[in-house]
Symmetry: C2
Subunit: 517 residues, 2 copies
């Protein structure tokens, strides 16, 4: 049996032994007692993932009017092979996530090393002593059939285990604050009964001690303002009863800049949970709409990007219209409509479900196939065609590859036996596509390419000189611009160099730019 | 044969005789010659409908830097039974449309009576002398099957006749500026060939004299800023060739406030036409999304209006999210996605059409049935149930009933043999529902009502005192709030009076407001 958890940079961390766990327990007791003496409340954050670890640091960084820390935070991470490494890494003051936000390493160093208000642990004891548990367990949607999100579902077993575990350990006065994006109905219909069941087993009278459960969702934006997007932004919350709402309100007011961004309190946790997934479904639908119109626009000689700019002039009513692109990636827009649609059936037995949002996911998920269609217009047989994909992350100037549309693109390109090379300055190792190497050198990736796909708008790609690109291929490659990355000057340069240029939402760009194909 | 055109206020106008037409021709020639002497260009506006007549006045009101009128405008209206009355009415300086914008009667008086730069006529001679023809012919979508907009189509025969008529009369230097919302592709594929055909018949060499055709769409907002929404707002345009673009650009710069709202020029008329219908499809889709979520929200005890407010806090990315309501009405959002979808197939042979937008129209069109479902929860048999519908227009504080969702609501209520009474302070006569009388007195409409539907948010309705409403019914009616018109205080008052209150996107409101059903 494996007993080593390996961090992304390859360092090996042995899983803790029983003796180490016994020592850790002593340490936790000691630290908790010390922190109580300072008058600080104890917060446990469940799950040191993308959101949880930074949320833990934000809580640990919160201070009162005198500048004194308000909370001590146990960052709880189970001793799993996959994630245990995060515990020793965090405890050295190092964030367990990569971010372009310089504040991320700073806030970890500040809270772990300087203030000593954040510490990671693998023990459930963290829950036992917590005044508040912030739940940041990952919860995914499964889409068993590509392009049919209506079949999507949410496997809640790990989440349920997590809630059960809380019920076994937390005190009756502890607030469970769910921050995970969950299917609407989860707090009332999953978290509450599970904790009540465990309370009852522990002999707690849940009529007298109804569990305190609240929901508040983050609106994290990966990138340069990652920490700030958690702390300095609008928050929505609710609770399963008045006391839960009260405790959640006080906590959120303490850790967030709610003077500038006042809290929005909704009637119940169903509303707060629904708000989050509707928010992202709104975005997903906006993109799907533009994608459908982009495909039609291409066929009638219209540049949808210019049309979009014209429409967005109507500020306040039309400026949310999103940009067509290779497709939609990331963790939220690809799954949240599915969580919602699934919950309506599975939790509430509602037949009449969220078709617009679900169809939007299908359109977005299958959109990378459209880029392949653009290539096929020039290379009807893709076999052995050399295709360079520039960018594999899901967002510009970031290395986040979760559900990246480049993943779908390359999977399908491979099915046609084309030969793919990839490049991404922000991605060294592509976790979701382990067998697809990322060329470190752009010229290696471009060498001999018949087709160059500008898949992601990394600044480096936007600044590329067309003649250099063409020279690196050693050919006159077909250029595919997936989201209006090339301006008219660059397009003209590619055309002068003998390339064909095509664009998502633009079609055959030569016609638009030069008035001729 | 009828020879009388009757205006909305009942005045009868005889259709012109041949002698009158001969006199009118002399008059037109005289006026045109006079106006040419002033150095003014001659503009003909084709169609004195909702947009055309105000557009004509805006053009006639345009002045140069010295305050001198730039254009003389012939408002062309065919001598039809339905619309001829507009000619004599306009020529008295009276607008042929009702509007809550005080500027509408003013601009007609100013241009017709004071400046004498606008005059209506029924003769095609207006086109013969025009430097620019602005096309404002009405063009509708037909949806043969309720709830299946994918079958929708556009009967262009009248529009084609209009274009043919222009081709028979206009000079080769005349710009045809299409302002009508048309299926994308219309200028290139319908207007251009029709005018070319007529030019050729007239012996004009279209290779040397290609017709000048442009498209620019209005973004009229009915209501208090009607004139301003034409003149002082962002405009998009394009033309079928460079000269068309040049003439259109100069004209639009002259008549609109393009210093504050610079023009957006697109590559071709397909783009400009697509932009308009996409703009409205975006709105239609946003509403459809909220409607779907509203129905689910009701079933899980969530007030979607509060959720919407929470989501819209994210300015710039989420604040376009629209409001759930009885349904979607008006002239644009109900038809523009259909025009677009139909054009993709009928004009461009594109199979892969605009499903999101079309499904949205279906959701929006059928939404009034949801209000009936809310009633049926209380009255499973609607037969003989007395239902008062407050508001039959499609927008608050306006009398515009075009494609009003109240129309759909009442048609279906009637199918169930319920008894409907209607009230609307802005509507005296319901043109689309001639057999449905509008009660002038609110108390008459409410008397004996078992159900009171707040269908439209006219200010008068928002200010109604719940106890008075209940007293006027003489019962304890079921109150249906179609779009968050009742605040919590009003809802509590209705509940205290013994009424049940339900809301679109809220469900059984008592539960939310009082914590009990």
């Amino acid at each position: 049996m494996k007993t080593v958890s390996i961090s992304p940079n390859g360092t090996e961390y042995k899983l803790p032994t029983e003796a180490e766990s016994a020592n850790e327990l002593k340490e936790l007791k000691k630290i908790t007692a010390e922190q109580r003496k300072f008058g600080r409340k104890i917060v446990a954050v469940q799950g040191m993932g993308f959101v949880g670890c930074v949320m833990a640091a934000v809580v640990a960084d919160a201070v009162d009017e005198k500048g004194e820390p308000l909370y001590f935070v146990h960052g709880q991470q189970r001793a799993s092979l996959r994630s245990f490494w995060k515990v020793p890494v965090i405890n050295r003051g190092i964030p367990p996530v990569n971010s372009s936000d310089a504040e991320v390493p700073k806030i970890f160093h500040r809270t772990v090393v300087e203030k000593k208000t954040l510490r990671a642990t693998w023990l459930n004891y963290a829950y036992k002593v917590a005044d508040i548990v912030v739940v940041d367990i990952q919860l995914d949607a499964t889409k068993p059939t590509f392009g049919d999100a209506s079949q999507g579902y949410c496997d809640m077993s790990a989440f349920r285990d997590g809630m059960k575990n809380l019920g076994m350990h937390i005190s009756t006065e502890c607030l469970t604050l769910v921050e995970t994006t969950v299917p609407p109905g989860t707090c009332e219909n999953v978290v509450k009964p599970l904790i009540e069941e465990e309370f009852t087993k522990r002999g707690i009278d849940i009529a007298k001690n109804p569990p305190l459960i609240a929901h508040s969702y983050e609106r994290v934006m990966p990138g340069a303002k990652y920490v700030s997007s958690i702390r300095d932004f609008w928050r929505v919350f609710s609770g399963v009863n008045e006391k839960s709402k009260y405790v959640a309100r006080e906590f959120l007011n303490n850790i967030l800049d709610t003077e500038k961004y006042p809290l929005t309190e909704l009637d119940n946790t169903n509303a707060s949970e629904l708000s989050k997934v509707m928010e992202n479904s709104y975005r997903a639908t906006n993109i799907a709409l533009t994608l459908e119109w982009a495909k039609c626009a291409e066929k009638i000689g219209v540049d949808i990007h210019k049309v979009r700019a014209a429409i967005r002039k109507r500020k306040g009513t039309h400026d949310n219209l999103l940009r067509p692109s290779l497709g939609v990636g990331g963790y939220c827009l690809t799954k949240d409509p599915v969580l919602a649609n699934w919950a309506m059936g599975a939790i509430f037995n509602i037949d009449d479900k969220l078709k617009i949002a679900i169809n939007s996911v299908d359109i977005n998920d299958t959109m990378p196939l459209h880029t392949i269609d653009l290539i096929k217009e020039e290379y009807p047989e893709l076999k052995d065609v050399k295709i360079a994909v520039l960018g594999v992350s899901y967002l510009e100037n970031l290395g986040d590859t979760r559900h990246s549309p480049s993943e779908t693109l390359i999977k399908f390109i491979n099915e046609f036996w084309a030969i793919v090379k990839t490049h991404d300055p922000y991605v060294e190792f592509w976790a979701e596509m382990e067998n697809v190497p990322i060329d470190k050198s752009l010229s290696d990736a471009l060498k001999d390419a018949d087709v160059v796909i500008f898949a992601v708008g990394h600044t480096q790609y936007l600044e590329l000189d067309p003649d250099e690109v063409v020279a690196m291929t050693g050919k006159k490659p077909l250029i595919i611009d997936c989201s209006n990355f090339l301006n008219d000057e660059k397009i003209k340069a590619y055309l002068r160099a003998g390339c064909k240029v095509k664009g998502v939402g633009k079609g055959h760009i030569g016609k638009l730019v030069l008035g001729a194909g």
